[in-house]
Symmetry: C2
Subunit: 179 residues, 2 copies
Amino acid sequence: MAYWQSRGLRGSTLEEMVNMTNERYMEHGLACIEKIPTPIKPIKMGKEKGTISLAYFEKKGSVDYIGVVQGIPVCFDAKETSKDNFPLKNIHEHQIDYMRAFQKQEGIAFIVVYFTNHELFYLLPFDVIEVYWDKSQNGGRKSIPMSAFDERLKIRGKSGYLVHYLEALSAYLAINTES
Amino acid sequence: MAYWQSRGLRGSTLEEMVNMTNERYMEHGLACIEKIPTPIKPIKMGKEKGTISLAYFEKKGSVDYIGVVQGIPVCFDAKETSKDNFPLKNIHEHQIDYMRAFQKQEGIAFIVVYFTNHELFYLLPFDVIEVYWDKSQNGGRKSIPMSAFDERLKIRGKSGYLVHYLEALSAYLAINTES
């Protein structure tokens, strides 16, 4: 059961909140974001139609969400932590590789981080992640401190959008256009 | 077995060819395109680590591929037909809805169509699909004739890219910028 939990159930509330937000974005024509299913390979079909009696988890997936927001390609993951920092072990190396490739193609990659003890959500841009990741690979600290989270990229719930990350994305784009 | 075939195996050669092309695009920094796994919900874990002993197919997925090509958000499906036209029943209504939403967000949606009897591949833009789809909903023909496929959007294999659809995509963008 431990294995199953680590795969599927942990963080499902955050996932549900993000999914509901995405549904509303879609309904209101604000974004078209797809939840990427966990890659599972079916091996044997069950007797009942549509069921599978043997399957296994395939290679690790890339990120949780991919899509487009008003012409901007975006991909992101949603992660939560009960700590006062964001441990880098929450991110897999293949996810870093994927986000790096996505950004190289001029897409925007980020992580929605939920600090459960503080009930705070932030948009953490890949640029920031990359700096800490690369340092950690060279013996640096293995987590991103809360102080590295930009207050302007705080995500607020708003008028039915539970995790209104588009607002933070828009702030991020504004900051980046300035500089 | 028939059910299983209709889900997983049919068209796997085309899928494999597109996947290999995408891997090369990724390696060469030309595009970052993700194959979306078939959504499967695991219910019961198997005794062996990483295996599932009961699962079922979830709601229909959106499209097969999503990603970004040099700043352009793209999504597409790969479909083959042995006919001399492309039957619209190869596309599900939820896929049309998804591609419509994706285009509304200024992304580019299309289908890579493989005419197996002719060994020809085409990029079929969503604009064309939409016209035929909408007509078919009003009693019009239920397929897209080969004559509606733009010769300029023919997909050729080239220097290791088995289904080099980026070339056709680039032609499509050039045509659309002209007009």
